[in-house]
């Protein structure tokens, strides 16, 4: 059995397979093509959720993505569980497991409905009011209790097992929505050479045509025409049809985000299918054919299960072959509900009465209803309902009040007219204008290259919908540069339902509005909205935030216009003056998975590794992140912690020889006859006199005079420099150089090329470095005389070309071997083997930091923070005072930059040599000074020095260089640490070792 409410109506129902699924643990049977909603309704289930705040029983209001109530969790396992899906969109398949949300212990007996009894204490603005008082209630009541009860779905407990992808696409014409307008637009636009994408959020394309049993087009029933049109489109090579694809966001310059749900409807998806695909489409022209959403009516107790939109009931009966109720009361302000009533009647339902708000009613649909014996009551309202888990009756009275008549029913249909879906149009910054006739906003002036067609433009008669779609399609193709080859005509036969509409509350008795819901999902009543206006909120943006109307996951698709209507009437201001809340993407909730796409695990971010990385990994190195580079941090041996490993590495390098991978350093080749002049302008140093074959330490400033980067530069030839930068600064430095070259000095004959990844850089440091290297090198004399400190030679090492630097960042005799990156690993291993007799020791970045700190060498970004000048860092010697100009020169003479009490780099030695200071700690003169204690500096680097057998630190201290020998205080949580100011060079101040 597929449900007692199944009728032979939809042609889809003819040959559909049975599908088995569970809802809240109970097994049900539906038919292929059903949504979870239509399958449950077929089984007589209307109770599907509890409301957000008061936990009132709720049922299906709609049949589409505007559904506010039927939020369900879907997924048999936590790793495939998704909360807050709409039952009206979830397609059933064999084995589907779904559950209701926001209820405990069960949907039928939910303890949360107790909120209902306290509703007087939970008025609009309740959450804001709780921010004020009482304070003690936060811990005991608000946080633990309210947070749990007010939740919406549960986040899955395990990582998502599915994969997601993102794809960029381009087309000439993108059409959003495949209802009558969208189909006509696609037929016309693709009758050209334009590439066309037609997307629709539903499983089956056709939109309202699929639910229409009265209209015909080109002699075919509406749904058949839609299918024929789709067949035709499928045959065209320039058309891409995308169903289950929501255009959720508009971004600048016709960039539209589409979310395609690929596998959610399948029992057994193929392994090569992502769950969802996020399409980022750049369209030359866009046709918006998003349709319109029916509006609920606001009356007392309008939220009981069994009260739904008239059009939704029509869709259930005509498209899915499911009748949502057998005794029906219809409450309407327009003709379309009559059409729905007639369709339900034809399916076997009994229409008790049609209650119409309008004073007098007439026309085709009214006459037809009357002719079929349906009782029509004009100038009347439904002013209340009864029934807890399902509606049981409606109280009907005259619109102005008076005695009420109670009519038994299990279904109430409501219709307040239609609200055009202007979301994407509005996101595209298009101007909306208010239509008094439609009681709705419609698209006005466009800003981007798009046009709205059909119902989303406020056109509701099928003939004009198709006409506007066809025109929009032709216009879009032509504007994209592809005039269509012709026009076709459409013979539409349909009876109009007019455009009557209503917004606001139908109630005349404001006391009764306590239960007249405006926003179903966020539990906001007409009374709440009115209260907000009484408390002084007049702008709809303020009312929205105060009452939370329109702030739920449905973003007010059903509620916004009614809230506007209530406010407008209450404060007696025209609707356009009350305003309209901003439409923001996404149009419907979109998964995090879709936005993350491939960017998870290894693909979250590129991980840059040097060609020597795998060797270090095999040696058990620990790595640290430097930007997206992985750098070997230290190489612990068995039983060693970081402290022991670093102490050993430092000692080995100072006593014999250490080997270090410096490949990540940024490198730029600067070539051209004006290369030296360019260097003079970019760096503080003077370069003209640097001879080829020599190295120099260079400092680069920003225009404000503060240190931006530094590095060793080799002059390879008069017109060629090999520049190195910091690891993190490589891209920034190249960009700045290129910027200056292109915008300030285009006359210079000099060009830049990034060579960071061309070279592997192997640093060999220590008294035995030369001995290790000598046997491997061809054509270079490594002796101290032939190759002094700060020189560079070209030759071969292990048979491959090298640029061999004699340079030291440790204070020891040192070399940096540059070889083409592909040879890096092999050369490294050869050097390591040659170093074995000397106990060669690989060291990581931590040891490098300690060794350079002992020598007082700065690290940009550690000793500098963007406010440090060369003089502050003790690098005044590197500034070419005689140079006419360089970037930052003028700033260096600003008064603030030459003050004597600027923070200057000094060494700090703690009184207790065993205490290692904390980097970043603040330095004060008098720790007993009342708070706030004036701070005169901070620690920039601090380590245990195995070489000196004590702690060492570098610090920036106000007027530091004139404080030599002074004792300063570093207050820490567990006491004040004393330290003495010393020179920043703590080891081998004369530099005898590096010149060895």
């Amino acid at each position: 059995m597929t449900g007692t409410y199944r009728v032979r109506r939809g042609d889809v129902a003819e040959s559909r397979n049975a599908v088995h699924f569970t809802f809240d643990g109970k097994s049900y049977q539906g038919l292929a093509g059903d949504t979870l909603a239509s399958a449950l309704i077929a089984n007589g289930v209307h109770l599907v959720g509890r409301s957000f705040k008061y936990h009132r029983p709720r049922g299906f209001v709609s049949a589409g993505s505007e559904e506010p109530n039927a939020l369900v969790g879907v997924g048999a396992t936590q790793s495939r569980y998704t909360p807050n899906l709409l039952a009206t969109q979830v397609e059933i398949y064999d084995g589907l497991v779904a559950e209701s949300q926001n209820r405990w212990p069960s949907l039928e007996t939910d303890a949360g409905f107790l909120n209902e009894y306290f509703s007087a204490f939970l008025p609009a603005g309740f959450y804001y009011k709780t921010f004020m008082w009482p304070r003690t209630a936060w811990k005991k009541l608000y946080e633990p209790v309210i947070r749990r009860m007010a939740g919406l779905g549960k986040a899955p407990a395990e990582p998502d097992a599915d994969r997601y992808t993102q794809v960029f696409a381009h087309c000439d014409v993108l059409i959003v929505g495949a209802g009558p307008a969208g189909l006509a637009a696609a037929l016309e636009a693709s009758n050209s050479d334009a590439t066309v994408i037609l997307c629709d959020e539903q499983a089956e394309m056709g939109g309202s045509l699929l639910s229409d049993r009265s209209a015909s087009i080109d002699g075919m029933q509406a749904a058949d025409w839609a299918r024929a049109a789709l067949d035709e489109l499928r045959k065209r090579p320039n058309v891409k049809l995308m169903s289950r694809t929501t255009a959720f966001g508009w971004y600048p310059h016709n960039f539209v985000g589409l979310n395609e749900r690929v596998t959610d409807h399948l029992s057994n998806p193929a392994t090569n299918q992502p769950r969802e695909r996020l399409w980022q489409v750049r369209a030359k022209e866009v046709v918006l054919a998003a349709g319109a959403i029916e509006r609920p009516l606001v009356f007392t107790d309008n939220d009981r299960p069994g009260i739904m939109l008239a059009g939704a009931a029509r869709t259930y009966v005509n498209r899915y072959g499911v009748v949502p109720g057998k005794q029906v009361v219809v409450f309407t302000a327009c003709d379309s509900a009559y059409r729905a009533a007639l369709d339900l009647k034809a399916a076997g339902a009994r229409i008790q009465v049609i209650v119409d708000l309008r004073k007098s009613v007439s026309g085709y649909w009214v006459d037809k209803a009357r002719a079929e014996g349906i009782k029509v009551r004009s100038d009347s309202i439904v002013r209340g309902t009864s029934g807890w888990l399902r509606v049981k009756s409606a109280q009907i009275s005259n619109a102005q009040g008076g005695d009420a008549e109670t009519v038994a029913c299990d279904l109430i249909l409501m219709s307040g007219g239609f609200t055009p879906s202007v979301h994407l149009f509005s996101q595209s910054r298009g101007k909306l204008s208010y239509s008094e006739e439609l009681r709705a906003y419609v698209p006005g002036e466009s800003v981007e290259r798009e046009r709205s067609v059909g119902a989303c433009k406020g056109l509701f008669a099928l003939e004009s919908v198709i006409e506007s779609g066809a025109k929009g399609g032709r216009d879009a193709a032509a504007k994209a540069g592809f005039p269509p080859h012709g026009e076709r005509s459409y013979a539409v036969s349909a009876q109009s339902v007019g455009a009557d509409a209503f917004i606001g509350s139908v109630m005349t008795d404001h006391q009764a509005e306590k239960r007249a819901w405006v926003d179903f999902q966020n539990d906001v009543t007409a009374k709440d909205v009115r209260l907000a206006t009484r408390e002084g909120f007049r702008s709809i943006e303020h009312v929205k935030r105060y009452t939370t109307t329109g702030m739920a996951t449905d973003q007010g698709k059903l509620s916004n216009m009614n809230a506007l209507g209530v406010v407008s009437k209450q404060i007696d201001v025209a609707v356009p003056k009350v305003g309209l809340t901003t439409f923001r993407p996404p149009y419907t909730p979109t998964t995090f998975g879709s936005f993350a796409g491939q960017s998870r695990g290894d693909l979250f971010d590129p991980v840059r590794k040097t060609s020597i990385h795998a060797w270090a990994e095999a040696q058990g190195a620990r790595f640290e992140d430097v930007g997206v580079w992985k750098r070997a941090w230290y190489f612990p041996q068995v039983g060693e912690d970081m402290h022991a490993a670093v102490a050993r590495e430092c000692k080995a390098t100072r006593e014999s020889v250490g080997i270090f991978d410096a490949s990540t350093l940024g490198k730029i080749e600067i070539v051209g006859k004006d290369a030296a002049e360019f260097m003079n302008r970019m760096y503080t140093n003077a370069w003209t006199k640097l001879e080829p074959g020599r190295l120099r330490y260079g400092v680069m400033l920003r225009e404000d005079g503060f240190i931006m980067d530094d590095g060793v530069v080799g002059r390879m030839a008069t017109d060629r420099f090999h520049v190195t930068t910091t690891t993190g600064g490589a891209a920034r430095v190249l960009s700045m150089m290129e910027d200056y070259l292109q915008t300030e000095w285009p006359d210079l004959e000099v060009w830049l090329t990034s060579t960071t990844e061309q070279w592997s850089v192997i640093a060999l440091q220590g008294p035995n470095a030369r001995k290790v290297l000598e046997p491997l090198v061809d054509g270079i004399d490594l002796s101290a005389d032939a190759m002094p400190h700060m020189s560079v030679r070209e030759g071969r090492i292990c048979g491959v070309p090298t640029r061999l630097f004699r340079v030291s960042f440790t204070g020891e005799l040192g070399f940096e071997v540059n070889v083409p990156a592909g040879y890096g690993r092999a050369v490294w291993e050869a050097i390591f083997a040659a170093g074995k007799p000397y106990g060669i020791t690989p060291y990581g970045t931590e040891t490098m930091h300690v060794l350079r700190a002992e020598k007082g060498y700065i690290i940009v970004g550690q000793e500098t923070d963007g406010t440090v000048t060369p003089d502050d860092a003790g690098l005044g010697w590197a500034v070419g005072k005689a140079k006419r100009d360089f970037v930052g020169k003028r700033s260096l003479s600003r008064p603030a930059l030459v003050r004597e009490d600027r923070k200057q780099l000094v060494g700090l030695l703690t009184t207790d040599p065993k205490v290692v200071l904390e980097e970043g700690a603040q330095i004060v003169l008098d720790p007993t000074h009342p708070i706030p204690v004036p701070m005169i500096g901070h620690i920039t680097s601090s380590y245990w020095s195995a070489t000196l057998n004590r702690s060492i630190a570098l610090a920036l201290v106000r007027g530091g260089r004139s404080r030599m020998g002074e004792e300063l205080s570093i207050p820490m949580p567990d006491g004040v640490i004393k330290a003495k100011v010393v020179d920043s060079i703590l080891f081998d101040p004369k530099g005898e070792r590096l010149n060895a």
Binding site: Q273, Q598, G672, Q758, C798, Y823
Partner: protein, 189 residues
């Protein structure tokens, strides 16, 4: 002493054997080593460079020219990439340098800076569009086109040598990421 050819390692060597086994109509393969030189300089110099190299560099933006295993890619108004497949970088660089003596230009050997990947098959463009925002239709990105662009979070040089064959030239440290990215994309399309 080992020969340079044996010593040379490619950042993609570990990737080739670790691809997904999922059937895909798009193949990924590592391109052979090549001598690669970045030329930057004035127009007169590029003509001289092209004459020596035996391939006339395109002066039209985003186009490459090829003769046999040698090709020249337009990278910018004053920048071209000269590539000679399976040739010795030192020899190619030496020859070019000599030919450009006295010319207003810069020539830099970047043979080891990047690795190459061929993306081939009828859905190659779709696979690349998983991370590359450009319009890769034949109309917008014809055979013979090249450009610097991005794939996911990596920069690269993309060129189309045949309707269904694209070449990706990417800096070594980004090459494994790009390979994995393409492998994931092709397994899902």
């Amino acid at each position: 002493m080992l020969s340079p050819a044996i010593m040379r390692s490619n950042a993609l060597s570990p990737m080739q054997s670790s691809g997904t086994t999922a059937a895909s109509t798009t193949s990924l393969s590592v391109l052979p080593d090549a001598a690669k030189l970045v030329f930057r300089g004035k127009t007169e110099a590029i003509e001289a460079a092209g004459a020596h190299f035996g391939v006339k560099p395109s002066l039209e933006a985003c186009r490459f020219a090829a003769v046999g295993g040698r090709s020249v890619y337009w990278l910018g108004p004053d920048e071209w990439l000269f590539q000679a497949v399976n040739e010795n970088p030192i020899e190619v660089f030496g020859g070019m340098s000599a030919a450009l003596q006295g010319q207003a230009c810069s020539l830099v050997d970047v043979s080891h800076r990047s690795d190459g990947i061929a993306v081939a098959g009828p859905t190659a463009a779709l696979v690349l569009n998983h991370g590359c925002p450009l319009d890769l239709s034949l109309k917008a990105f014809p055979v013979g086109m090249c450009t610097r662009t991005v794939l996911g979070k990596a920069s690269l040089l993309l060129s189309r040598s045949e309707e269904h064959v694209f070449h990706v030239d990417v800096w070594r440290s980004f090459a494994p990421y790009v390979w994995q990215f393409l492998d994931e994309a092709r397994s899902l399309s």
